[in-house]
């Protein structure tokens, strides 16, 4: 193999890497260029509360769906964050070797359950339970929130567990030597691992916000602002999932759906930047 072969090989691998970079930019390009029409023609109407895309006087307001998405994601995230952190702390500090092994393995299996299967579980099993306990609808906010927690908890637990395991022994020992008890030691560890934990928390929020199948199947699909835990709701991604297959290509409706996609894309990119910024800040703080 001569110089020419080497050069050839290098050019092939670099092209492959550039394809990835190009893919991200073309995603941004295609999503935004398809949504331009909606932005031009509907303008601020996009943020009005009513979504009646196929009426004669069609309205393309996404405000209600946007608020529902945010409320659902925040509410679910708070549960996932706190339960996830507690389980991770338990695994890290108290669990025996056997417990750790079994739990981490089960978590991996759960993280492998496809979201459509979880949605199905939510409709068939959890939905029935809801009806039995007297809820007036089987598919609702709480049901979606529970299934989304099942989807993201394994992720939260294993990421936080990994960052807790990275806390150096000296830090813990120093805290104990200073007289810290269980709780204070945990606070020290959580503070030390905070950059990893912040990363886990924001990724969880991002995944819940962008998850489609579960909210499409389980959330209920009523476009009203949520007022109680048992209300059926319709988040942004559910509108995309249910209407994208039937929409006339190139129509205003099509373009407004792309605008929703554009919001999701921008949201996740911004969240990514925020994660990078915050984790870097915490890293600096930890290193002094």
């Amino acid at each position: 193999m001569g110089k020419l072969g080497s050069a050839f090989f290098i050019s092939i691998v670099s092209i492959a890497a550039m394809v990835v970079a190009a893919a991200l930019f073309s995603i941004v390009f295609f999503i935004s260029s398809e949504s331009i029409r909606a932005i031009k023609e509907v303008g601020f109407g996009l943020f009005s509360p009513n979504w009646y895309p196929v009426w004669v006087d069609a309205e393309f307001g996404i405000r209600t769906m946007l608020f529902n998405s945010i409320i659902l994601a925040l509410w679910t995230s708070i549960w996932v964050w706190s339960i996830g952190l507690i389980v991770a702390l338990y695994l890290h500090r108290f669990a025996t070797k056997k417990e750790k092994e079994i739990m981490l393995r089960t978590l991996e299996y759960v993280s492998g359950i496809p979201s459509v299967v979880l949605g199905f579980f939510g409709v068939v099993v959890l939905g029935d339970l809801f009806l039995k306990f007297g809820a007036w609808t089987a598919q609702n906010f709480l049901n979606a929130s529970i299934m989304l927690s099942v989807l993201t908890l394994p992720f939260m637990i294993s990421l936080s567990y990994q960052s807790l395991e990275k806390v150096p022994r000296e830090v813990v020992e120093a805290a104990v030597a200073l007289g810290a008890k269980d709780l204070s030691v945990m606070v020290v560890e959580v503070k030390y691992a905070s950059s990893g934990l912040i990363n886990a928390m924001l990724s969880v929020f991002n995944r819940i916000f962008g998850e489609t199948m579960i909210v499409l199947m389980v959330a209920g699909g009523a476009n009203v602002l949520v007022r109680s835990l048992l209300d059926p709701i319709r988040p942004l991604t559910a509108a995309l999932g249910s209407e994208m297959g039937e929409v006339e290509i190139g129509s205003l409706h099509y373009s407004s759906l792309f605008f929703i996609g554009f919001l999701l894309l921008v949201g996740s990119l911004l969240l990514n930047l925020l994660t990078n910024y915050l984790t870097r800040q915490r890293d600096k703080w930890v290193k002094g």
């Binding site: 290098i10 394809v19 669990a95 089960t106 759960v110 459509v116 299967v117 199948m213 994208m244 894309l265």
Partner: protein, 267 residues
């Protein structure tokens, strides 16, 4: 303190085990139904088997494998072996960013580029290219970790023995064989379980025949589960149960293999 934590953790653990158990055992008994794996669904999916969905999912996986693994592997090699440090960090964080984009956005992208602009329509090839767009950065993020874990001394040692860059790269690949296999399985597993992108780019709820060309639409396992739950009644639900059970069993075997490989590497 310890006990509160233990009780919460055990509750989570029991709930998870129950969910997996219910999904698997409420569907697994249908596998023995005659013709379950070999027949077409009949009478609005209340009878027959899952043959076309199985083949559809399999075809998708094959195309995703052929497109995304070579590209992903070459990209990873560039990132870990050839790129200057800054570019390598930049590309890796690009891949990480792409991993966090919601899958439905990939679906929209695939719809607008593959189905409409390249006029491939709702088809096997659009769906698998869309899935590949998701799978490539996922593979890169995962595989780059394993290639970086190969000690520097090995690379330098091989080059000191007179090997050129290509031979050194092959050496690195051989050293991280198990890791690459892990990334490969996780990538295919993720593509297998993803629903939203193929829902908008390539799947139909019912087709009377298998796709003959790559521009034909397909039926797949995940989209059929969705279709049954949303559109069909009680009578067809057994099929969704069986397919869910099958999908979870496939995913658990993938993760078991990954765990086996990991233990093997540590020894």
């Amino acid at each position: 303190m310890r006990w509160t934590f233990r009780i919460i953790s055990y509750t989570v653990f029991v709930a998870f085990t129950l969910i997996i158990g219910i999904i698997i055992f409420s569907g697994v008994n249908y596998f023995t139904k005659p013709g379950f794996f070999t027949q077409y669904p009949k009478s609005a999916m209340s009878e027959g088997g899952i043959f076309p969905m199985l083949i559809g999912s399999l075809l998708l996986m094959i195309v995703v494998f052929l497109v995304s693994i070579p590209t992903g592997l070459l990209g990873t090699i560039f990132i870990t072996e050839f790129a200057p440090r800054r570019l390598s960090i930049f590309l890796q964080s690009l891949a990480a960013t792409m991993n966090s984009i919601p899958s439905i956005v990939y679906g929209l992208f695939g719809l607008s580029l593959f189905c409409v602009k390249l006029s491939l329509g709702t088809s096997l090839i659009s769906a698998s290219l869309t899935l590949s767009t998701m799978a490539i950065p996922f593979f890169i993020s995962s595989a780059a970790e394993f290639l970086r874990a190969v000690p520097k001394e090995l690379r330098e040692g091989v080059i000191a023995l007179g090997a050129n860059k290509l031979q050194a790269t092959l050496m690195v690949l051989r050293a991280s064989k198990n890791g690459l296999l892990t990334s490969l399985m996780l990538t295919l597993g993720r593509a297998f379980s993803e629903t939203a992108p193929i829902l908008v780019t390539g799947a139909v709820f019912y087709a009377t025949q298998l796709p003959k060309k790559i521009t034909d639409p397909v039926m797949t396992l995940p989209t059929s589960i969705y279709a049954i739950v949303m559109n069909l009644g009680e009578k067809s639900q057994w099929m969704a149960r069986a397919m869910s059970s099958l999908m979870v069993i496939v995913m658990i075997s993938i993760y078991s293999t990954v765990q086996f490989l990991r233990r093997h590497r540590n020894e």
